[in-house]
Symmetry: C3
Subunit: 414 residues, 3 copies
């Protein structure tokens, strides 16, 4: 019986792993859709690179750093880190491993897919002006070291876990970790040429392929079935199905409230805001998806949708140029979702709220400092930003041998 249950659990976790992998297509579509065609190859290159290097780095370093007897906890890893990182424990394929929720191999792959996500979030925010090599270097370090250390404090059984900090699927540990780096990177990089006029006017730079951006969001929503559903770490019928319900209701509510607020504020039906509202709802529910009732989930989503509309405006006001809205979606809604665990659902309470706040602050401080050190060092050595000429003519022309994303199509210049 146990064996069969392991088989069933492991199937669910493998399906979820595939869905989280598929989120990378969602991110890719979203990011290229919301930026200009002249930088499309460059963005795709970054995203494909992150998936590949993210998995390899996580295999070499991250997985062992994040989980067993954390390095930050001051002890050596529990078992030998062999040359290529993965070393099957004796019980790794049995029901004794991970309470029979999945095998050691599934464990690695599911977590590895998560790891790459954090860097991908940054990728959207720095698009259209970051130097490819600099970004690649940053993402290797961030995925390989910063993400797993932060993760180990909670998911690896570290001090935040001991304090009772709760982050079910990573509103803080994935989305904010990516979001903090995004805000630091955007600050250090500066805005794209033309985004902010001399008079302080904000100029919209429209994305070149809105159907792709929309597809990206729907693919991300589907991916979240795996991101949250898999974070149950087994196929427990009650927990997984509740998680999918809260996830979908929060997404729907986030979209609707973002659509309504933005329609009231801007007097037109803004599809991009609608889409970011959905993502905000998804990020917002992620910290407590297994702790909420459907009603809680809808309220969390509704608030996340409003946050998105004001968050995007705020980021603009701060003269931070975030082409895809990554800061509002992943950072601000990530914080909101983490705090919401202390306000709604089964764990609500002032103590919990304060612990959630502490977790947000500690992870935030760690990520800001880490991202700043890495990115500032890169800026002072290799440089972070492409030349003005390259930015104006497009990164595809300069970094990718003139490869065009759509060579058969006639383009407008801008």
């Amino acid at each position: 019986m146990e064996e069969t249950l392991l088989t069933a659990n492991n199937i669910w976790m493998m399906v979820c792993t595939g869905l989280v992998f598929f989120m990378h297509l969602g991110f890719s579509f979203l990011e290229i859709g919301l930026t200009r065609q002249k930088n499309t190859i460059n963005i795709l290159f970054k995203n494909v690179f992150i998936i590949c290097i993210g998995l390899l780095i996580y295999c070499f370093v991250g997985f062992n750093l994040m989980y067993p007897g954390s390095f930050i906890g001051g002890v050596l890893p529990d078992y030998f880190i062999d040359l290529f990182g993965l070393s099957l424990p004796e019980d790794g394929l049995t029901t004794a491993y991970a309470d029979g929720g999945y095998t050691y191999w599934t464990d690695f792959l599911f977590q590895g897919m998560f790891a790459a996500t954090a860097a991908t979030i940054v990728s959207g925010a720095v698009a259209e002006r970051v130097k490819l090599t600099s970004f690649m270097l940053f993402s290797v370090i961030y995925v390989g070291i910063v993400y797993p250390i932060a993760g180990s404090w909670k998911w690896g059984g570290g001090f935040l876990d001991e304090w009772g900090f709760y982050d079910f699927a990573g509103s803080t540990l994935v989305h904010s970790v990516g979001g903090w780096a995004a805000i630091v990177a955007v600050y250090l990089l500066g805005s794209r040429i033309g985004k902010f006029g001399k008079d302080g006017k904000v100029n919209a730079i429209p994305g070149h392929n809105i159907p792709m951006a929309t597809a990206g969001v729907l693919i991300l929503w589907l991916g979240w079935f795996g991101f949250n559903g898999g974070s149950v770490l087994s196929a427990d019928p009650g927990a997984t199905s509740l998680t999918l319900v809260t996830t979908c209701l929060a997404a729907a509510a986030g979209g609707i409230s973002s659509f309504i607020s933005s329609t009231i504020m801007y007097k037109n039906y803004d599809l991009t805001m609608f889409l970011n509202g959905i993502l905000g709802g998804l990020v917002g529910i992620t910290a407590g998806a297994d702790q909420m009732t459907p009603t809680d989930a809808i309220i969390i989503g509704l608030i996340a949708g409003v946050i998105i509309v004001f968050g995007v405006a705020l980021v603009d006001k701060l003269k931070l140029d975030d082409p895809v809205g990554a800061i509002a979606v992943h950072l601000i809604c990530g914080i909101w979702g983490t705090l919401a665990v202390g306000i709604f659902g089964a764990m609500a309470g002032m103590d919990q709220f304060l612990i959630q706040l502490a977790g947000v602050a500690i992870i935030g401080a760690f990520c800001i400092v880490s991202a700043f050190i890495i990115l500032f060092t890169i800026k002072k050595t290799m440089g972070l930003r492409v030349s003005k000429e390259e930015e104006l003519e497009g990164l595809d022309l300069h970094e990718h041998g003139g490869m065009e994303a759509y060579p058969d199509f006639r383009m407008n210049q801008h």
Copy 2:
């Protein structure tokens, strides 16, 4: 053992739920692919709206209306409908619920994904000229009230179920329900400017992105693995796998026969017809996917493919302007599939055929009347159709603040 079987069943149903969700991307791609670029944002907005509001409305009202002791049956709902609709029954996460096929949460989410589909079908038929707010209002009412009432008559254990009417996964209850509203809406809206010449000539208005339309159909086919496979309501190995086989064979046969018939009729290889033939095969098998042999499925698909070719021509002849072929695909093949249950497979027989016919007629009458009342009222109050200027210049320009789907690309005007 029972617990483990519930876990396995529930995994399958959650996977199917994800696949049905993914169909919304398929519908979106299909609809924008087969229409003009100037209305792309508008169509995407509608589709994203339907997913979000569909889930929320179904949570508030639809699920309780459709399933437990139907309202139409004249009795009050079996259990208290709380403010937000969902109320976990005591046994909702145990093997006692739904014969151990899935949990209460999965039940809601799977059915909720279905509900939104019916409105999406309409969306394609009314594209490029319907007023956004009017369509949104219509879809809220249709998904929230009409769809669940019709559904309750069969799937909620209502009178059609008692009569022995059979509709496995919704040839009638989903596809025709959408299709009837589509034909009413198209009739009330009128055709797009330029579609029918004064001399009665039918002018093709080519879709602007055929690769996306093709992707939409392949995504829909994949989604049908969940639509039909999940309608087994458990992971029963024999029933689910037979269902996938009949579904895929009918789709393949529908495509091939549609391709051959249209090649004979029009002397060229028409990709759109091929694609609609696949969809016709899928809709056609849906009513009896678990009752057919592979041979039956192929024959049903072959006939559906021919129906598509003649159906599309018939709709044109009736001067009904259906940009994506929704009426031929969802209504006509939905009827065909429902009747086919009385002709082929395990339930074939004259009695069954007549019951199927009665079901088609009753649901049809109910949907036509409901859709007419809702849409006629909207037409006389808010209006159904955008202005001539808006239609000519594109709905994206007028309803979405001038947001363009592809601002970097140079376009032909038409």
Copy 3:
């Protein structure tokens, strides 16, 4: 217990079947993305045709030809082949069938999805100049007869299986079978007009939609979860999860090594090479995905990535015009992966290596001869290639009644 395990196993196999089906969207996106817009409808038509006819043909002929008591083994099929090919064995839905790994219906559908893949591989290599009817005829014969015969020698328990030849998921039996036909077809067809200058110069013909090509590769990667994960033929937790890990690591390593080698050779960041490197890694691991450690998988992938860079250059040097790199990816990496089973992992050894080599050679000879006979006959009767005028103006214009893939967009002529 057994029943529940069958249910779980069958769920996994159905999910994998869906994923392999989804690969056809990946192939479609990849092929149209890497070719010119003027042939897009034509390529999509081919691919959609292959899925549909592939399933039907495999149902009529292929499945029975490939598996039960092979025809090539000189005996009649074990059981009656009825008119439509599928005939449920008495135990076909019980745990007695296929060691309880799946049902008879799942067996057929999973294998049927594989079958169509082989022809799709050819489709990419012959794109932009092959006659549609000729290609359709070829693919019917190849999928219906050649593929299942070759497959029966190993997977049907034929002589290669008896010799100990190993090909887990089809580096040889699927990818090389497709790849050999591709090279024969490309040779017989000749290169596209303009590909090779009179001075021997190779002119790059850029693909028209690189985002779609990228999406295609990510979809294919996801599909490989099912392609390799399903080839375990059950949901055995250890074997399936190891397979997913080796598959993903090989893909990632293939991408990274291809990116690095091509950057060194060509001094720019070539996204297409990166993408083909990922595919090369995937094809390379396919023969031994269940036999390798993660370390082995990374090495196999790294080598595959380098092979891709040199393979693409070699194919160009041989004046073979393969628009999508199918020969390097599927044929050369398919051979590499098959041989790698004799070099790395649990089966490594000189004897095994020689058996692998023999298998590669025998299947290669059979496929080359078969493909040559079929294609040469077609060439001499119906013709293989479109007219020069048709090629220059685009196949969409001539074979598809002037249907355009993107009629609203302004295009460059080339």
